[in-house]
């Protein structure tokens, strides 16, 4: 069984559309994340949820809205897509919220979003 699964794997859409990416983890972790990896391969954290509560919300446009129906799921909804939103989006989970010896993050396979 895949520990962290996200769908869809590929998403091609037009500017201005609204789209969602779903993420599920079966590890029993309390914390889930969304990361964006741009064309230069830098990973940037977007959001972090602990037990369905938002704990980190980095500076991302409010067109991006995460939703966590339960602690095993963290979905990402994007409104009014722009060209610059094209990237690979990774979902991840961890047991702990974050500490000096921050534990292992488990990543999904990524969802490649292309905005035309």
């Amino acid at each position: 069984d895949t520990a962290v699964s996200q769908t869809p794997k590929y998403l091609v859409t037009q500017m201005g559309n609204d789209k969602s990416i779903k993420c599920e983890q079966n590890l029993g972790h309390d914390t889930m994340y969304w990361y964006k990896q741009d064309s230069k391969k830098f990973l940037k954290i977007m959001f972090s949820y602990n037990n369905k509560e938002l704990i980190i919300n980095e500076t991302v446009p409010n067109r991006f809205s995460p939703k966590s129906p339960d602690k095993a799921h963290l979905n990402l909804h994007i409104n009014s897509l722009e060209l610059g939103d094209s990237a690979v989006y990774f979902c991840a989970s961890s047991q702990d919220e974050g500490s000096a010896n921050t534990g292992e993050l488990f990543f999904g396979e990524g969802s490649r979003l292309t905005v035309l």
């Binding site: 962290v4 230069k40 391969k41 830098f42 990973l43 940037k44 954290i45 972090s48 980190i56 990774f90 991840a92 919220e97 974050g98 500490s99 000096a100 010896n101 921050t102 292992e104 993050l105 488990f106 990543f107 999904g108 396979e109 990524g110």
Partner: protein, 109 residues
């Protein structure tokens, strides 16, 4: 803010030991150093984490000197499948991992 610096790319050959060094001059007193591996079209995967001296697991060894201003990831006897990007990660003020460009390691036959 523990920013890290590591080589952009490295080449090696199958069967060799590969050492990737990372500098982290501003590492906080309590912070650990973490290394991840990422294959093309996959999510990053945790390799190893350490605080000081030496840590070893089934995949790699991590050497951190006493001043903790650098660390070295050692991959023993690499194979072609070890071709990947390797990230050396520090932490920000929220204890979240800081991702740089990583080191693109290419293993040749």
């Amino acid at each position: 803010l523990a920013k890290t610096t590591q080589p952009i790319s490295m080449d090696s050959y199958e069967g060799q030991e590969v050492n990737i060094t990372c500098s982290h001059n501003n590492i906080a007193t309590n912070d650990y150093i973490t290394w991840y591996q990422q294959f093309p079209s996959q999510g990053p995967r945790f390799i190893i984490q350490g605080y000081k001296t030496k840590v070893t697991n089934e995949v790699a060894s991590l050497f951190i000197p006493a001043d903790r201003k650098s660390s070295t990831l050692s991959l023993p006897r690499v194979s072609l499948s070890d071709t990947a990007v390797y990230y050396c990660l520090g932490l920000d003020s929220n204890y979240q991992l800081i991702w740089g460009a990583g080191t693109k390691l290419i293993i040749k036959p």
